[in-house]
Symmetry: C2
C-alpha cells in the first residue's frame, strides 16, 4: 500500500494507514462520520478533515467510489471486481449489493447509441427489504385484530 501510494506521489503516514485500514475493514457504504467514529476508537487524535481527505484520496486512487442515494449523505464504497448496484432499504437503511455486469452492458449499449462515453454507472433501487416488509406486515396484522 505504501509503495502503491508512493508511485502515485502520496506519502504514507500513521493516520493514513489507520484510516485506510479502517475503511477496508468496514468496507461497504461507509459515511465520513462512520469511518471517523471507527478511526477514533483507535486513535482519538485523528481529525475529521483528515478522515474526509483520505476517503477522497481512496477514491482518487481508484479504490472506492462515492455512493449517493439521495438522503444527503455521501457514502464511500469499495470498488469491487465486478460492477454492482444497490438495493437500499429505506426502513432499516441497509444496503444489499447485486451483480450489475449485465445491466452495465445494456447501459453501455444505450450510451454508445448516443455516442455518449460512459465513465461511471449508478444503479440504485430504493425500497423495503424482506426483513422490514415482513415486520410491517406483522404490525399491520396485529392492528387489524
Amino acid at each position: 500500500m505504501r509503495e502503491f501510494l508512493r508511485t502515485k506521489g502520496f506519502k504514507m503516514t500513521p493516520q493514513r494507514e489507520l484510516i485506510f485500514r479502517s475503511f477496508f475493514e468496514l468496507g461497504k457504504h461507509v459515511s465520513v462520520d462512520e469511518l471517523y467514529a471507527k478511526v477514533r476508537t483507535k486513535d482519538r487524535s485523528v481529525g475529521y478533515a483528515t478522515v474526509w481527505r483520505n476517503l477522497k484520496l481512496i477514491c482518487k486512487v481508484g479504490l472506492a467510489e462515492e455512493v449517493n442515494i439521495g438522503d444527503g449523505i455521501t457514502r464511500y464504497d469499495r470498488v469491487t471486481k465486478f460492477p454492482h448496484g444497490h438495493l437500499y432499504c429505506t426502513e432499516c437503511k441497509s444496503f444489499t449489493e447485486f451483480d450489475a455486469r449485465a445491466l452495465v452492458e445494456s447501459l453501455t449499449k444505450v450510451a454508445n447509441s448516443s455516442r455518449f462515453e460512459p465513465e461511471l454507472f449508478k444503479i440504485e433501487v430504493l425500497g423495503v427489504c424482506a426483513h422490514c416488509s415482513k415486520q410491517a406486515e406483522t404490525r399491520h396484522r396485529r392492528q387489524s385484530h
Copy 2:
C-alpha cells in the same frame, strides 16, 4: 390541477399556480435555484422557501421525483409515462434521458429474488456526451501539432 390538489387536502394559491406552471414548463432536471429564478421573472415577490416547499409538494403528490447525480444539487424531474434513466455529461452538465423499461424489469427481478420490494429506481450514467468528447478530441489534436 386545483381539483387534483383539493382532493389531496392542499389549497391552490397564486404562488403555487405559478410555481407548478413554471416547473412543468421547464420540465426536466430542475434545481430549486433554477425554478426560483424562473418564477421570479414572473413574480418578484415569491420567496425561495415557497418554491422549495412546492417542489417537495409536487414530489409528494407523485408528479416529480428527486434526481441526485452526486454534485450536491438536488434536481426535480417530472415523472414520465415510462421509467427513464439519465446520461449525465460531467463536462457540459447536460442530461439525456433514455427509456429504462427493460432495465427496470431486470432490476425488479433482481429485487424480487431477494424478496426486496422496490419503490424507486435510479439509473444514472455519468460520462461525456458526444458533443463534449468531440470538442476534447479537437483540442487534443490542436495541442499535439
